[in-house]
Symmetry: C2
Subunit: 164 residues, 2 copies
Amino acid sequence: MNRRDPIPTTPEPGAAAVTQLVLRVFRLNGVLLHRGDQLVAPLGLTSARWQMLGAIALAGTPLTAPQIAEAMGVTRQGAQKQLNMLLEQGLVEARPNPAHRRSPLYVLTPQGLALYRQADALWAAQAVELAALIPSAQAHAATGTLETMLHELHTPNLSSKVES
Amino acid sequence: MNRRDPIPTTPEPGAAAVTQLVLRVFRLNGVLLHRGDQLVAPLGLTSARWQMLGAIALAGTPLTAPQIAEAMGVTRQGAQKQLNMLLEQGLVEARPNPAHRRSPLYVLTPQGLALYRQADALWAAQAVELAALIPSAQAHAATGTLETMLHELHTPNLSSKVES
DNA sequence: CTTCCATTGACAACCAGTTTCCAATGATGG
DNA sequence: CCATCATTGGAAACTGGTTGTCAATGGAAG
C-alpha cells in the first residue's frame, strides 16, 4: 500500500466503506429482530411489542398514540395497531386525556410493567455478553457513526414525515 | 440484598452502550429502507428487489433460489417470492440446472442488469455524500463492530437456520 | 432396483409495517 | 356561533418477511 495514489480503481474509496457498513446494518437488523423474538418469546411477547412497551415505559409520562409513533420512528397507524393489541392483552391501559376526548393517554398496567422488566432483564444478560466483546468506547464510536448517517439521511428529505 | 454494590443504577456501563447501538441500528435500518425505496422508485424498483438483483449480480455465477436466500440472509421461501416476481417482470431469467431438474439457476436478464446498474449509480451518489461526512476509517471501524455483534449473535444459537 | 431422507418449489397463514381512505374530534377565524 | 381545517382513530389493501405443510425431486443405503 505504499503508492500514494488517491484514486486507483475505485472512484470513491470512502463510498465503498459506507456501502459495506449499510449492508452490515441490514443484516444485523434482521439478526437482532430474530434474536429479540426468541429472547422474549417465553414471556409471550414479540420484538415489536417489547419495543412498544419500552417506548411507553421510558417516556416517563403518559403518551398519546401519535406521540408513541413519533418516539418509535414508525407511522401513527402502525403504532396504533400494536397499541390496540397490547390493550387487549391488558399490558397497557388507556386513560382519558383531558386535552383530547378521542385521543387517550397510554400507560403500562402493572402486568405490562412487570413483563417489560422481565424482558429487560433477559436483554441485559445478552447485552453484557456483547459488551464483553465490544469496549464501550467502540460501541459509542459506532453509535456516533450511525447517528451521523441517520442525520444525513433524515434531514435532507423534506417530504418524509408529513403524511401527504 | 444490601451487598455493597459497585453498581448503583447501571449494572453494566458497557451494556448500556451496546443497547444504544442496537437502537440506532433499528432506526437506521428503517430510514435506509425508506430512503432506498424512494431512490429506486423512479426505476420501478423497491429496496427488496434491488437487493435481490444485487445478490444475483454480485455472485458472478448463476445461483439457485436457496443459494440466493443464503447469500441474502433471508429464508428460502422469502427469496423465492421476490424471485418469482422478478421473473414475471423479466428482470431475471431461470436457466435449466444440469444438477437439479426442479431447481433452476437464476441470472439477470439484460434489462435486469441495466436496471441494477442504474440503481447502483443512484446509490453511488448517495454513498459519496455520506462518505464526505464519514471518513472511511470510521466506516470500517463501525462495520467491524457490527460484524462482531453479528458473529456473537449468530453463532451461539444452534437452532437458527435449520428449518425445523 | 427400491427405500429412505434431505432438498426444493408452491402454497397458505401469519406478523409487522406501510399507504390510503373515511369519520369524528378539536382548534381557529369569520 | 359557525365554517373550515388539522389531528386522530379505524379499517382495508398492500409489501416484505416469517413459519408450516405438502408434493416432487435427488442422492445414498439397503
